[in-house]
């Protein structure tokens, strides 16, 4: 079967991407596999200027998952472009830059810088971060703010596809998806982490210095599938699904519910060759579940109306 997918101006050799923040810049994994086996790499959340992130501890293990409050530590967009991007095989594997900013104007500025970079295949906009100008409420929790950011990025992104990454920490994810579609998003990716918390009874302390963090890993897969299903019903633009994917069968679940592509996140921490293994296992899984083309399989979930 032909595993390649084309959507939103992107052509990927297979529908597997790595999720932002879980795969560094890809370079951390070159000892464990060939990056060119992957459809693409979404790099760590990148901001205009360097960020040191949150105090330690920043990660905690939870049942079938983990919490993180890394706080978007990154060396800034300039360092990314000079030190990391040139070392990535971007001609053979799509390099998608996940961007992060504190207000819509800064998002636009970042998009403008990346728009002219040949090695950047697309922008993924992380709207799960707080809007400093709006008192710190996350852009992704308000359809109006999400639309503003989408427009600001789209205006400056030139011909780069703009993927908006939705947060599950909302009452109505369909409304967010629609707002971003109307504002010009070329695709949506979902979900970001689920807001959560863990405590240590013995020390009577939260397990993260930041107290609250984002839950990821297999524990959130049902939430991710539900969000994907609701977004699928709400918009026409392509969707990239993620949340707890840890096997080729999980990949098929997301495509069945309607995703054009998927991202592998926390599972990369179970073993550093996880994404490469899933890429190698995908053809066998397709055969096993009688999937003969993405077009016929995507969104073919049978929902009996009662």
């Amino acid at each position: 079967m032909d595993l390649s997918v084309s959507f939103a101006g992107l052509t990927l050799k297979n529908p597997l991407l790595t999720a932002s923040g879980t795969f560094g810049y890809g370079l951390e994994f070159v000892d464990y596999g060939d990056l060119r086996e992957l459809g693409g790499i979404v790099v760590k959340g990148t901001s205009l200027t360097p960020r040191q992130g949150n105090p330690m501890p920043r990660v905690a293990e939870t049942p079938a998952g983990m919490l993180n409050a890394i706080g978007l530590q990154n060396p800034g967009v300039e360092t990314f472009l000079t030190d990391y991007l040139p070392r990535l095989p971007w001609r053979e594997t799509a390099v998608i830059v996940n961007i992060y900013a504190c207000d819509a104007a800064e998002f636009g500025e970042l998009a403008g810088i990346l728009a002219v970079e040949e090695g950047v295949a697309a922008l993924e906009v992380n709207i799960s971060c707080p809007n400093v100008k709006a008192g710190g409420i996350a852009f992704g929790q308000d359809p109006l703010m999400a639309a503003q950011v989408t427009e600001a990025v789209k205006k400056r992104a030139g011909n780069k596809p703009v993927i908006v990454k939705l947060s599950p920490n909302v009452t109505d994810i369909a409304a967010l998806a629609r707002a971003c579609e109307v504002a010009g998003a070329d695709a949506l990716s979902l979900i970001n982490t689920v807001s959560g918390m863990a405590v240590d009874v013995r020390r009577r302390k939260p397990r993260l210095a930041n107290v609250i963090g984002g839950l990821s890993g297999p524990a959130i897969k049902p939430v991710a599938l539900r969000c994907l299903h609701q977004a699928r019903g709400a918009v026409k633009i392509p969707l990239i699904g993620m949340g707890g994917i840890a096997s080729a069968e999980d990949v098929l679940e997301f495509i069945l519910v309607g995703a054009h592509a998927v991202q592998i996140g926390t599972a990369n921490f179970l073993r550093p060759d996880m994404s490469f293994r899933i890429a190698r296992e995908l053809p066998g899984a397709c055969a096993c579940f009688c999937v003969d083309s993405w077009e016929s399989f995507r969104g073919s979930l049978i929902v009996e109306k009662g």
Partner: protein, 230 residues
């Protein structure tokens, strides 16, 4: 090295980091103290049980054959020093001070004592810790023109670092931060380390312990629980 028994399934999720205890052309050994769920599963594995292993990661303690070297180990922090002592070209220049709560026989202390000058201290009750700290202070002072290497629990490292600074001794410490990815990607294991050539306000940055460490020169890092830098 990172170890993850397949028996973990999804629980615990992450692999666990361990130092290499012994290495031969055909085998690799670990010395593991049961500290929680992950180490309990590892300790209970049957021979032949499948395990995901990756590494070695990061760096190792400095070897300076010409320099008198003092090893300070607390508890299971002794694990990396067995191989260190065995492969050291001038073991006559090595000394070990080992502190623990369980009986010393539970640890690979004798192996090192057979090669290097070694002394141990067992903490049995309140007040013992002051005696141990005084002993550490004396030994660190005696090695202030040598090299000191330390591995152990966080309070132990804090004390050793303070004493080394007081005596102006060169100290390397190995950190045991929690690790998730073990390849430098998640930024969950970072420590504050000085970065070369930066302005004073950017004097330190969060650096991955798994790939840039776990061994650091003590004066190049800021430990959790230490007074902030001035």
């Amino acid at each position: 090295m990172m170890l993850r028994p397949r028996a973990f399934a999804l629980e615990p999720l992450w692999a666990r980091p361990f130092s290499i205890y012994a290495l031969t052309p055909k085998t690799i050994s670990f010395f593991i103290q049961v500290a929680g769920r992950g180490t309990a599963v590892l300790a209970g594995l049957e021979p032949g049980a499948p395990l995901t292993v990756w590494g070695p990661l990061g760096n190792a303690f400095a070897v300076e054959p010409e320099v008198r070297t003092l090893i300070l180990a607390g508890g299971v922090g002794i694990a990396p020093f067995a191989a260190y002592a065995k492969s050291h070209p001038e073991p006559s220049r090595l000394s070990l001070v080992f502190g623990c709560r369980p009986p010393v026989a539970a640890y690979p202390y004798k192996e090192i004592a057979g090669i290097a000058a070694a002394e141990h201290f067992r903490e049995r009750g309140p007040g013992d810790i002051e005696t141990f700290i005084a002993l550490l202070g004396e030994r660190i002072r005696a090695f202030r023109d040598g090299l000191i290497l330390a591995c152990g629990p966080q309070p132990f490292l804090l004390t050793v670092k303070r004493l080394a600074r007081e005596h102006g001794a060169r100290l390397q410490i190995s950190l045991e931060n929690r690790m998730a990815c073990g390849v430098g990607a998640c930024l969950g294991c970072v420590t504050k380390a000085k970065v070369a050539g930066d302005s004073p306000e950017q004097a330190f940055a969060n650096v991955q312990v798994c790939t840039k460490g776990p061994v650091f020169w003590a004066d190049q890092i800021h430990l959790e629980g230490e007074e902030p830098w001035t």
